[in-house]
Structure formats: C-alpha cells, structure tokens
C-alpha cells in the first residue's frame, strides 16, 4: 500500500484562515454528509465481500475498487482537515487529487479465508486494541503538532517537513489498519507510519 501527501514548498495563508474559520461549513459538513451515506454503502459491500472471500477466497474486483476509491476520498478530505494540503478536496469516488494526495492499494489475487475469519471474530483483539492503543497517543501528539503547525504556516507560509511527515505517517498507519480490517490485504499492518 502506498500513501503519500505532497509536502508543498509554500502553503497559502489565506486558505489556511479560510479553512480554519469556515472549513467546517464548506469542507467538513458537505463531505461528511455524503461520506456518511457512501460509507454506509461501503459497509454493506464490505460485508458482501467478506461473505464472498470466505466462500471463494477472492475479493470481488468491483467492490475492491469501490473501497479504494472511498479511501482516496477520505484521504483527500483528511489532508485538508489537517491542513496538510491546500486546495479543495474533490467530491465523489472518481474525483482526482494527484497533485496533492495519492493512495494505491494493490489488488490481492487471493485472500486467506482463515485470516479473514480470524479478523472477523478476533480482529478487535489482535489488531484493534494494540494498534488503537499506540495510535491513540500518536494521534494525540499529532493534534499538538497540527496546532503548532497552524501557527508555523500562518507566520512563515511553510509547513515544517518533519511535522508534515509525522502527521502523514499517522494517517498512513490508520489507513493500513483500515485496509487490513476491511480484508483488502492479508499483510498485518506494521507498527510504524513509515512508507
């Protein structure tokens, strides 16, 4: 899985202020409203895919593409919420954002049925709890960094590279866990945000 969010040389201060004051109205609310319904549909398809994988060992290609497109959409919105990218996130599953965000998930020809069942019944124990515990602290640190980065961008127009890398790493980690729990990959997510 490859997830990147481009670190820009310069960040727009006006966009930063606009996002901070009205972002909830023009980014979060409209996207969250649509993502709620598309996400519900994604949950239904995920369950259908689970049944299919258990009986056939293959993840349906159409559903796989849908899930990856849905994740790309969420990534586009997240990149703006965390002020990691300028610009407005494109709506829809087919929206593109190549200039700023990039997510690639290779299609697995075969998915282990036993691993799928293991994740279904015990995923919370061996994935959710250990990763959730570490991610909780990482997200907490990330929100502090994000807060200080806001001032850095406002006064200098630049997002400190290491801070950007840390927050992108946190997102990458979360997406890896999501991909594993959604049966899109058999690779157990590593305990790192590095690419």
């Amino acid at each position: 899985m490859k997830l990147t969010i481009t670190h820009q040389e310069r960040y727009s201060r006006s966009e930063l202020l606009l996002r901070s004051i009205f972002g909830v109205l023009y980014i979060t609310l409209p996207h969250a409203f649509l993502l709620l319904f598309v996400g519900l549909w994604g949950a239904i398809l995920s369950f259908v895919a689970f049944i299919t994988v258990v009986f056939t060992g293959e993840y349906p290609k159409s559903i796989f593409e849908f899930q990856v497109q849905l994740m790309r959409w969420k990534l586009r919105v997240n990149a703006r919420i965390y002020n990691l990218s300028d610009g407005y996130p494109a709506f829809g599953l087919l929206g593109t954002d190549d200039e700023y965000t990039h997510l690639e998930v290779p299609y697995p020809e075969q998915i282990s049925r036993s691993l799928v069942l293991l994740r279904f019944f015990f995923g919370v124990i061996f994935v959710g709890i250990p990763h959730g515990f570490v991610l909780y602290f990482r997200i907490l640190i990330g929100s502090f960094i994000s807060f200080f980065a806001w001032f850095a961008v406002l006064f200098t127009g630049e997002y400190p590279k290491s801070w950007h890398r840390f927050i992108v790493g946190t997102l990458r980690w979360q997406f890896r866990v999501g991909i594993y729990l959604a049966y899109l990959s058999d690779d157990y997510p590593p305990f790192t945000g590095e690419a």
Binding site: A43, I44, V48, P60, K61
Partner: protein, 173 residues
C-alpha cells in the same frame, strides 16, 4: 408474433467481473446484517441501489440484479407485515397475541427460508456464469433484459453510431 431475443452468453464468454457482480446482487439480502439494522426495508434499498449502479455494466449483470430485486419484494412485504403486527402487539398494545399471529410468523419464517435458499443457490450459479430462473421473476427479468425491445446501452456492448442528423423517424416514436 414472437419477440426476438438476444442469445444468452455461455459461462466461458462471461468475464469473472461480470460473474462476481451478478453474484453480488443476490448477496444484497445480507445488507441489514451489514448495517446492523433489522429493518426489512434495508435489503430492498440496498438491492435498488445495487441495481441502478450495476445494471448498465452488462446484460448478464442487469438480469441478475433485476431478478434479485424483484424477488425481494414479496419477502419485504411479508416482513413488514410481521413487523407492523408485532409493533401493534408489543409496543402499542392495540391488539393481543393470538394464533393467527403465530401462524403468520411461521409463514414469514418459511417464506424467508425459501427466499434465502433460492438466493444463495442463484448467487453460486451466477458466479459460475449459469442462469437460474426464479418463478415469475426469472421469466420477467429475461423478457425485460434479453428482449430485442430492450433499448438500454450496455458498457460491454458496442453502441450503434449515429451519423449525421436523423431526419427520418418511425411514425410512432
């Protein structure tokens, strides 16, 4: 006068994606489980959404989506009836439990079991590229999709090219 039909594809002529998408149509009966909402309408809504998203992909997918959607209607109505009755008894306390209610519950369980079994078998066969026709709905879906009267354009079929301005038209269009 008989209606001409488009020849049916054989399993080896269908792509694996077509077979998977056709199978998915029947698995919409599990939608309520997926969202953890035990409402009979959820499966029907899911089947309608799936139908409109996938119907133009190919005739094979269209047929299975339509058959799956139509076959959900009777069980959805029966389940709604049971839910309404149960709410009247246990929630609003307007009526009391009687033998008719238990008989209806038995009928509902039987109808759902039949529907579930047929859908599972149809899903397995759809994934193998084999047609399975349900009573009433199968022949209707076949007529609707494979009749040459069906004017829907499918993604995997070549569309007739319209060249120039169409001045001459049939009298009843």
């Amino acid at each position: 006068m008989s209606i001409p039909y488009i020849s049916l594809p054989q399993p080896e002529e269908l792509t694996s994606r077509e077979k998977e998408d056709a199978m998915g149509a029947y698995l919409m009966m599990l939608a309520a489980f997926a969202v953890s909402l035990p409402l009979p309408i959820i499966n029907l809504i899911a089947a309608i959404i799936y139908f409109y998203i996938n119907r133009k992909k190919s005739r094979y997918i269209h047929f299975h989506c339509l058959q799956s959607l139509l076959s959900q209607l009777p069980t959805t109505l029966i389940n709604w009836g049971a839910l309404y009755w149960a709410l009247q008894i246990f929630f609003f306390e307007n009526v009391e439990v009687n033998d008719y209610f238990y008989a209806y519950l038995g009928f509902m369980i039987l109808a759902n079991l039949i529907y579930f079994t047929f859908s599972i078998v149809a899903a397995i066969r759809a994934r193998k590229g084999v047609f399975m026709y349900f009573i009433f709905f199968g022949s209707y879906a076949y007529n609707r999709v494979y009749s040459s009267k069906n004017i829907l354009f499918y993604d995997n079929e070549e569309q007739p090219e319209i060249t120039g301005q169409q001045l001459n038209k049939p009298p009843f269009e």
